[in-house]
Symmetry: C2
Subunit: 205 residues, 2 copies
């Protein structure tokens, strides 16, 4: 439609981004064309820099630009607790709460039969190897607890169930973050499933 | 927050795009990191390619990758009618209607005192020069009509008013595209201003 191959190619590449449809991609491409201060070069540079500098940590699979990520490196963190998350972006959400000082392990997805994602596509074998290595008798601080911090949806529940089974008999406590009424919210506006969970998981005072 | 400079830079550059907030930019950056088939290189390449290949047509200021754009080059188009648009993207909207076969002139914006955009920031001097050149006595097909195809908002109206004054006495007919009820729409749901315009501009049958 635009009949300018270079522009059509840019629209095509931009429309591959999540949440960016062809119409938005076209708007972005026109914005980029109109932009000043060599914005296309800067964006292009930062794309290549991310590609070359950022990789996953060999220990926990979080993103990092060092040999090992800052959470794995930090000697003040508790190595006996491991928090399992779906994506690296979940870590910053947990960190900013300040409520957790253990280590992390990123699965890079959840089990989703509908999308064809199986346990072997995730960093689960790596988790098992990490747990076994930590339980080596020479290690004074083996992993004692694994916390599941998955999204509160079907895929998160499936993954939690699968991992609970896989971790049986491995001498490790398993927990998951609590589901319930969000802080500061009005009980009137809570949906049925959340209220159900909140009742079920009520805490004795 | 991410504490990976390369990733933070990419989020920063992405969040400069229109409609992309910091949260969306972060989601896009993570998507780019996770992407396969060297997507960052492809996107980076297409950004640089657009930057180097695409420029504005010296005649009408539409975007093109040739010396002169295809609308200015096409000998079958009517050189006696000129359609004025705000942005190059408006041209494809008009073209796909198939209702116009004249030439174009892109202003690259509209007069907007609030945003500090004055007449001199637009391709208005270029329009005047183009009109004058076409009215050279050796030219058999001077511009006889100029159509304003601006957005139906305050800035569009201001620009139309300014140009109407500037073009007075220049021996050229001035028109603007019609405002009224969109085709296929239900009269019940039309807003007051549109209905007002539709009444005012009623067409005798």
């Amino acid at each position: 439609m635009l009949q300018i191959p270079a522009l059509e190619k840019l629209v095509h590449e931009l429309s591959r981004l999540p949440g960016i449809g062809p119409k938005t991609a076209q708007r972005l491409a026109y914005y980029i064309l109109k932009s000043k201060n060599s914005y296309p070069e800067k964006l292009s540079e930062s794309l290549l820099r991310v590609q070359s500098e950022v990789h996953t940590c060999p220990e926990c699979f979080n993103y990092t630009d060092r040999a090992i990520c800052k959470f794995c490196e930090d000697p003040h963190r508790n190595s006996e607790i491991l928090c399992l998350v779906e994506e690296p972006s979940d870590i910053s959400r947990i960190e900013s709460s300040g409520a957790y000082r253990g280590r992390y392990h990123v699965l890079h997805g959840v089990i989703s039969p509908l999308e064809g994602i199986n346990a072997k596509d995730l960093k689960i074998n790596e988790l098992m190897a990490r747990l076994a290595a930590s339980q080596n008798e020479n290690n004074e601080k083996p992993i004692r607890e694994i916390i599941f911090a998955f999204d509160a949806d079907l895929e998160g529940d499936t993954t939690a169930l699968y991992l609970t089974k896989s971790l049986q008999g491995k001498n490790v406590k398993i927990s998951r973050i609590a589901h319930g009424i969000p802080m500061g919210s009005d009980i009137d506006f809570i949906d049925d499933r959340t209220m159900g969970r909140a009742m079920e998981n009520r805490v004795e005072l």
